[in-house]
């Protein structure tokens, strides 16, 4: 079953030039391949948005592990900025999560 997501977005490196936002997101999804007689069911598209603007667009295959965990990094970022991650699978199911950078 495609279930809930968890996400944490944190500012790393403080106010230095190398500051970046680290996004860690967990998706609940079986990510099954067609092997072993199971139905092929996997996430195909993932979108990461910062304050409503798309920053990362991903296409993935059934080779991503079950209950996928991804880390993304954004240049800079500010506490309170909104990060949204959503996915779409090969059956048209979708899920999204939003949280503020901490």
């Amino acid at each position: 079953m495609a279930g809930p997501m968890k996400m944490r977005a944190t500012l790393a490196g403080g106010n230095t030039a190398g500051a970046h936002t680290e996004i860690r997101v967990l998706m609940t999804h079986p990510m099954t391949t067609a092997q072993g007689g199971q139905p092929l069911h996997f996430i195909q598209n993932i979108t990461v948005k910062l304050n409503g603007r798309t920053v990362v667009e991903a296409e993935v295959s059934q080779a991503v592990s079950r209950n996928p965990v991804f880390s993304f990094r954004l240049k800079g970022g500010a506490k309170g900025d909104k990060v949204e991650v959503s996915w779409l699978d090969n059956k048209g199911d979708t899920s999204r999560i939003e949280s503020a950078i901490a």
Binding site: T47, V60, S61, A63, V64, V69
Partner: protein, 145 residues
């Protein structure tokens, strides 16, 4: 061709394209490829140049092929895309990431590997393609899951 006709054709094309705009694109050709070469061709990156500016951080030996953590980054200026190719998997292309303004060309993800294999990461910068490769030994394959 007259201008009116072109305008009408353009409007028609825009109307036809609209219902599909809601659906995200998934590169069937690249992901359906069964060899690394075909996958790269499907990505439009047939002959990437070797680069030392792509880092691949992964275990040398993965005991469980079902969950192999891979951390990749590109130090090539202007990197707009990173693709992960697990060469010996039935479908080698595992993922492709496009980075827009504001994102760093960095990804960490867990993948499934059928067997010991080279992992190739292809970066795109300024319309050119670069690649780095690293071998990961897999003790128990993870493609049943």
């Amino acid at each position: 061709m007259n201008r009116l006709r072109r305008t009408l054709l353009g409007a028609l094309a825009a109307m036809l394209a609209k219902p599909f705009a809601a659906l995200a694109a998934w590169s069937e050709n690249a992901f359906g490829a069964k060899t690394t070469q075909d996958a790269l061709r499907g990505l439009g990156a047939a002959n990437p140049a070797p680069s030392k500016d792509i880092t691949i951080d992964a275990p040398q030996i993965a005991e469980n092929g079902a969950v192999v953590p891979i951390e990749i980054a590109s130090n090539i200026p202007g990197t707009t895309s990173l693709a992960v190719v697990l060469e010996k998997n039935p479908f080698p292309l595992a993922a492709k990431f496009d980075f827009k303004e504001g994102a760093l060309p960095y990804i960490k993800v867990n993948v499934k590997m059928a067997e010991t294999s080279d992992v190739r990461v292809v970066a795109t910068a300024g319309g050119r393609h670069y690649a780095a490769t690293r071998e990961i030994k897999v003790t128990i394959g993870g493609c049943g899951g």
